[in-house]
Amino acid sequence: MRPTKLPQRAAKAGAWTTALWLATVAMRAQTHWAFTPVQRPTLPVVAGLTSHHPIDAFIAEKLAAKGLALAPKADRRTLIRRLYFVMLGMPPENAAVAAFVADRDPRAFEQLVDRVLADPRYGERWGRHWLDVVRFAETNGFETNRERPFAWQYRDWVITAFNDDLPYDQFVREQIVGDALGAETATEFLVGGAFDIVGSPDPALTAQQRADQLDDMTSTTSTTFLGLTLGCARCHSHKFDPIPQRDYYAMTALFAGVSHGERALPPTPAQRAAVLDIDARIAAIEPQLTRFRTVKSELLASHAHRTAVTYAHNEEVLQPVLARFVRFTIAQTTNAEPGIDELAIFANDRNVALATNGAKATVSSTLPGYAIHQCEHLNDGRTGNDHSWISNEDGKGVVQIEFAKPERIDRIVWARDQDGKVRDRLATDYWFDAALAPGEWQRIASSDDREPMREASVGPIYNLAAASPADAALANTLLLQLTELRKQRASTTSVVMVHAATFSQPGPTYLSNRGDPMQPREQVAPAMLSLFAPMTLAENAPEQDRRKALAAWITHKDHPLTARVLVNRLWQYQFGQGLVSTPNDFGKNGVPPSHPELLELLASEFTASGYHIKTLQRLILTSDTWQQSSAPHALALQVDMACRLLWRFPPRRLEAEAIRDSILCASGNLDRTMFGPSFFLHDVDRENVYHYHQKETFGPAESRRMIYAMKVRMEQDAVFGAFDCPDGSLAMPKRGMSTTPLQALNLFNSPFLVQQAGILSQRLQSDAGPELPDQLQNAWARIYQRAPAADELAAAQKFAQHYGMAALCRALLNANEFLFVP
C-alpha cells in the first residue's frame, strides 16, 4: 500500500515540496477523486442564465440537465430572516428588517452580508458548529462525568477565531500545536473528548484507557481536518481506503506525548522578566529575616497559626531532631491523588533527602502509567510536574525518605509544583514523623497548626516577640517590603487556567495486534498517512516537533483534503446539506459530491483567498442559489425530493440552540453577554459521580445564548436536548433533524417555554399599549418579522380575547413558521 517509488523524506516539518505532493497525489489519481489535487474548473455556459455568479453556473447546469431551474429570488423579508438564522442563529431585529426592505441600493444585500459577517453573534453561531465537529463538552463523560471548569476557554477561543476571521490554516495549526504559537488554549482541541478518569492498579485497564485517549485524538484530528475515518485501522488495515494499520499507529505516535489535564497558561516573556526581578529582590531580603523565623513549639505555645499550604512552596521549620527516616503522611488533598514534585529535608542547609546524597525514597503507591510521576522524582532535585510523584490513592499517600546516615534535620521544604504551573492534588491534611529506627516514629510537623487552605498564602511565619526594638523595627520594615513584593508577584503571575493538553516526551509507540494494547508488536515511528506525501519522523522525535510536522502537513497548500473538507462544511451549514453529504468521510466509503466541479471551485477559491472563511461565505451568500425562494413545486419534488440539486433553498428546522436563543430573542429576554464561564442548566450534585438535575425555573443567569450553557456529556438539557443536540461524546459533523413527539411535548409544556411566553405577553402589553390589535402587530413583528394578514389578525384577536395573550404567545412560539429557516 505504501508508495514505494517516491523518496522517503527525512523528518523536517514542512520540508516537502509542491512537486512531491503533486507526484504523490498523481499516483493516487486513479484511486479516488478526493485524493487528487484540487483543480480549478472552467465555468459551464448555461443557456438563459442571467446570473454571472460562478456558483449559479454550476448549480444551473445540473438543474437544466433534469429540466429544472433555479427558483426566483426570495423576497427581502425572507432573505434577511434566512441570513440571520443561518449566519447568526437568531432572527433579525425589526428595525433591520424594515431598513433592508426599504433599501433601494442595488448593493443592499451585499452590504447587509458585510454587516452580518461583522456581527459578533456570527462567531457564536459558527463556533457552535465547530464545537460539534470537535466533540466539545465541559465534563469528562463516563460514569463520573465530572466538570472541566476551565473548558470554556477553548469555546471562547473558537468564537473569537471565527469573529476575527482567523485564516483557516492558522486556525488548524493553533489547535494542533498552539503551545508553540502562543495559543495554548486552542490545544484543548486535542483533549476535548470524553475521558475516563476512573483509575485502577490493573495494568490492562490503564493501557486500554490510554489507547482510547490516543484513538480519540487521532480520529478526531483525522475526521475534523481531513474528512477521513481512521478508526478501523486500529485493528486491521482499512477496508475501503488505502490506510494500512501501521499508518494508524504512526499517527497515534504524533500524539503519544499529549495528555488530558488542566493547567495554567504559561507566563508571557514580560511576566517572566518581572517575576525574575521580584524574586531577586525577595531573595535579597529573606536572609536578613532568617533569624526571626519561628519554630513550631513556639507557634503552638503562642497559639499562632501558620499560613495555609500553597501549591508552589511549603516549609516546615522543625525543632532540630536526629533522624534516619522521615515519613510524610498525606490524609487529604485539594482533589484526587496527592502529587509532590520535590521533598527536600535540610540539615544545616544541606538537602539530605536528595538521591545524590545517598537518600532513598519509598512510597505507598504510584499512579500507574506515567513516567513523569514516579517515586524517584521525589528526591531527584528537579522541580515541576514533569518530575513529580503522584500516589494511586484518592486523597491519600505516604512517602518515606531514608537518609544515608542519621542526620540532625531542621527544615523541610515541599510543594506540588515549585514551577508554579500546576494547581491541583495539593496535600492539605498531612503530618511528618521522624525516626532513628523504623517504628520509633515521632511527630515533627503537621498541618494541624496551619490555617485552612486558601489561595495566595505565603511563606513561613516570623516571631518578633523576642527581638530588640531596633531589630523589630528593621524586621517589620523588611516584612512590609516582602509582603508588598509577594503581592506584586502574585498579581504578575495570576494564573489563567485552561483545560488544554499537557505535553511530555513520549516513549516508543508500538503497533497493537488487533488493537489490543496488551499485545504490542513492532515499534512504529511517528508519521503522516502514507497515502499522501510520505513523511516519517525519527522514532524519538521531540514531542512538539511531531505536532508541528502534522500541522504543517495538514495545512500545506497542496493537501488535497484540507480545503475540500472545510468548504464542504461551510456549504453544509449554509444550505443544510453539504455537496459531499458525508462531511467526515471523503474516502471511498463516503458519498461522492453532488457537484464535483463546484467543490473544486470553492476549494481553490478558499486556498487562493488565504483561507479566509468569511470571504468564502460571502461568495456563497451572494449567489442566486443561496438567495432563491424556498417554495416547493410539484415537478421538482418528484425529480429531486431531497433537493440535492438545489432547485430551491431547502428549508429546515432550526437547531436546538437556535430555537432556544430565538425564543429568548423574541421574548426580549436574551442576555447578549459574550464569553466567560458557562451558566448551568442543571443543578449539580458533586458526589464521587457527578449528577446533573435539570433546573425547573430559570432566571436571568440562564438567559444567555445556549453556546454559553455548561455542556454536560450524557445529560442533555431537558427541553432542547431532544432536538438532536449532540452531547459531545462523539464528533457530530452533521446533526440529525428528527421530529418526535417528545420535542412537541417539551416545547409546548416545558416551564421554560411557558415562562418565556408569559414574559413575552407582558412585554407586548408594555411595548404596544393596551389595544389588542397593536399588541398582535407587535407579536407578529417580534416573532415572525412581518405583519399579520387580516384573517390571521382576526383569528388571533378572537383567540387572545378568550384565552389571553400568554396562551397566544405559547402557540406562536411553537409554530412551524418560527422554527424553520425560511
Binding site: G48, S51, H53, L70, A71, P72, E143, A194, D196, S200, P201, D202, T223, L228, T229, G231, C232, F240, T582, D585, G587, G590, A631, P632, H633, A634, A636, M641, R653, E687, V689, M714, A718, A722, F723, S729, L730, A731, M732, P733, G736, M737, S738, T739, T740, P741, L742, Q743, A744, L745, F748, N749, S750, V754, A795, Y803, A807, N816, E817, F820
Partner: protein, 508 residues
C-alpha cells in the same frame, strides 16, 4: 441581479399551487394522511454509503418523517416481538447467585491459584471465599441456585442461564456502556434504540422504547444506557417509572384543560396556514403529526403508569406493598416498576429496559450491586429487593400469555471475583466470567449454557461475548446483526461492531 422567472419553473409552481392550495383538499391529501405523500427515502441526517460490508449489504429501515414508530418488517421470521431487559447496575456476583462451584466451597480460605500476581480493579486478592448463601437444587432441572434469590430459583425451569459471559472492561461506566450499547466508549446507540430503529413499534400512542430507572435513581452510567447515540433522537429510550412521570408530559401548572386544548387547536391552525404555502413539504407535516402523537401520549401514558387498577393478588405476586421495613420499601418500589414494565409490554412497547440498582450514592454497594467491602450486608438488601418482584414479573408475563412473544433478558455489566479483596469482606470486579440469563420467546428453558472454571473466575466453555449476546437478541427479534446498519461519520455502524455470533445452541 433580478432573476427572470423561468417559464417551466413558473408554470409548474403555479400548477402545483393551484392543485394544492385549497386547504380542504390539502388536508385530505396530505395534512394528516402522510401515506399519500411520497416518502423521503431516508430521514435527514443519514445518507447512503455505496459500499457493502463483506458481501452483506447493510439494511437500513425506511423511516417515515414524523412517524418514526410505524412497524417495520424484520429481516427474518422473529421468535420474539418485544424485549424486556432487567439490568442490574453495579455488577452482580455470579458466585453468590447462579454460578454454583463446589470446588470453590471446598477450597474456601485457600489462595486463588495465580492470584498473588493478579491485580484487579481495586488491587490485590485475598483468599478464595465461598458464598455466604447456600446453594440448593431448584425445579425439575435441579439447577443449583443460591438462597439469595429463591423466588427466581423456583423458576429455574423457565430460564436459560449463560454462565460464560465475558466482557472487556472492569470499570462500571464502560461496562454498562458495553452491555447497553456494544461499545465501552460513550456516544453509541443503545440496544433499545437500535431495535426501535429497526422495527418501530406496535403501539403508535406510546414511545417504542421505555427505560424504567430504579426508584433510587439512574443507573451508574445514567442515560447512556438508553441513549440514541447517533441514531435519530426519536429512538432514544423515554425514561419514566412508577414514581416519576415523563418530563413535560403533563399540562403546565396554571393552564386549564380547556385553555390547553384551545391553544393546541390554535397552534394547529397556525401550522396549517403556514404549510399551505409549502405544499408537499413533509418536514412541516411531520411536525404537525408529532403534535398529534404528543397529545395522544398525554392521555395514554398517565393511564399506563397508574397502577391503582391492579388487583391485590397481582400486587402480592410482585411484592408491591411494603411491610414498612427498609427492604420492604425498596422491594415495593422496584416491584411497582416491574408491574409498569409488564403493562408497557402488554400494550406493545417494543423495548422495555428495567433497572435494578442506582448510581453510587452513600458509598460503594449501598444502592447497587457493587459489593466490594461488605458483601454479606449489602447483598442481604439487594437480593430480596430483586428476587420476588423479578420472579413475579416472569410469572405474570407467562400467565397472560406474553412470555411466549417477549424475550426477557437479565443482565449486569460484569461479574465479581471468587476471592475476597485484600483486607475486605467483598469481591472485586471481574469481566472474565459472569452470568446473564434469558427467558421466554423460544429460548431453551431450564438449561445452562457455557461454564466458568472450577472457581467461577473465568469463562472457559462456550464463551459468550457481549457482541454474541447482542447478536442473539437481535436474531430472536428477526434481525441480522451483521446487516442492521446506520451510516455515521464514515462508517456503517452496527450494534455488534464487527463481531458477534448468534448463540444458536440456546434457541429452542
Amino acid at each position: 441581479m433580478t432573476q427572470m422567472p423561468r417559464s417551466l419553473h413558473a408554470l409548474k409552481s403555479l400548477q402545483s399551487l393551484q392543485a394544492l392550495q385549497s386547504r380542504r383538499r390539502f388536508l385530505v391529501e396530505g395534512g394528516f394522511g402522510l401515506g399519500a405523500i411520497a416518502l423521503r427515502a431516508l430521514l435527514h441526517g443519514q445518507d447512503p454509503a455505496p459500499a457493502s460490508i463483506a458481501g452483506k449489504a447493510p439494511i437500513r429501515p425506511l423511516l417515515q418523517p414524523g412517524r418514526p414508530y410505524t412497524p417495520r418488517a424484520p429481516h427474518h421470521i422473529p421468535r420474539a416481538k418485544n424485549v424486556l431487559v432487567i439490568f442490574c447496575s453495579g455488577a452482580v456476583s455470579q458466585i453468590d447467585t447462579f454460578d454454583y462451584k463446589p470446588e470453590l466451597i471446598r477450597c474456601h480460605g485457600e489462595a486463588l491459584p495465580g492470584g498473588e500476581k493478579l491485580i484487579t480493579f481495586q488491587g490485590g486478592q485475598g483468599a478464595l471465599t465461598k458464598s455466604p448463601w447456600r446453594f440448593r437444587p431448584r425445579g425439575q432441572s435441579g439447577k443449583m441456585i443460591s438462597d439469595l434469590v429463591p423466588h427466581i430459583g423456583a423458576l429455574a425451569d423457565k430460564i436459560c442461564f449463560i454462565h460464560s459471559m465475558q466482557g472487556k472492561t472492569n470499570t462500571h461506566g464502560p461496562g454498562e456502556n458495553y452491555l447497553s450499547t456494544g461499545y465501552t466508549l460513550d456516544g453509541f446507540p443503545s440496544m433499545g434504540a437500535w431495535i426501535s430503529y429497526a422495527l418501530g413499534s406496535e403501539n403508535q400512542d406510546l414511545p417504542a422504547y421505555v427505560a424504567i430507572p430504579d426508584p433510587r435513581g439512574k443507573p451508574q452510567n445514567s442515560v447512556n444506557n438508553w441513549a440514541p447515540g447517533f441514531l435519530p433522537a426519536a429512538f432514544q429510550g423515554t425514561d419514566f417509572n412508577a414514581r416519576q412521570p415523563i418530563r413535560n408530559l403533563a399540562r403546565p401548572t396554571g393552564i386549564t384543560a380547556t385553555d390547553d386544548a384551545a391553544t393546541r387547536a390554535y397552534l394547529q391552525q397556525l401550522n396549517e396556514r403556514h404549510a399551505a404555502n409549502f405544499p408537499g413539504d413533509t418536514e412541516l407535516l411531520a411536525r404537525m403529526a408529532s403534535h398529534e402523537l404528543a397529545a395522544r401520549m398525554q392521555q395514554t401514558i398517565p393511564a399506563i403508569a397508574d397502577l391503582t387498577s391492579e388487583p391485590q393478588h397481582i400486587l402480592d405476586l410482585y411484592g408491591a406493598e411494603s411491610s414498612g421495613s427498609k427492604i420492604g420499601d425498596l422491594r415495593a418500589g422496584y416491584a411497582r416498576n416491574c408491574i409498569l414494565a409488564r403493562r408497557l409490554v402488554e400494550r406493545g412497547v417494543r423495548f422495555v429496559q428495567l433497572f435494578n440498582g442506582a448510581y453510587q450514592t452513600g458509598g460503594e454497594g449501598v444502592s447497587n450491586w457493587d459489593g466490594h467491602k461488605d458483601l454479606l450486608a449489602q447483598y442481604s438488601v439487594h437480593g430480596p429487593v430483586l428476587d420476588q418482584p423479578t420472579a413475579g414479573l416472569l410469572i405474570d408475563l407467562e400467565q397472560r400469555g406474553l412470555l411466549a412473544e417477549t424475550l426477557v433478558v437479565w443482565c449486569t455489566e460484569f461479574g465479581r471475583m471468587p476471592s475476597f479483596q485484600q483486607g475486605a469482606q467483598g469481591r472485586d470486579h471481574n469481566p472474565n466470567g459472569f452470568t446473564c440469563w434469558l427467558a421466554g420467546a423460544a429460548v431453551k428453558q431450564g438449561t445452562s449454557h457455557g461454564a466458568t472454571d472450577e472457581f467461577g473466575y473465568r469463562a472457559v466453555e462456550n464463551v459468550v461475548s457481549v457482541h454474541d449476546f447482542h447478536a442473539t437478541i437481535l436474531h430472536l427479534l428477526g434481525l441480522d446483526h451483521e446487516r442492521l446498519c446506520y451510516y455515521h461519520n464514515g462508517l456503517e455502524r452496527r450494534l455488534t461492531d464487527v463481531e458477534g455470533r448468534v448463540v444458536r445452541e440456546i434457541l429452542a
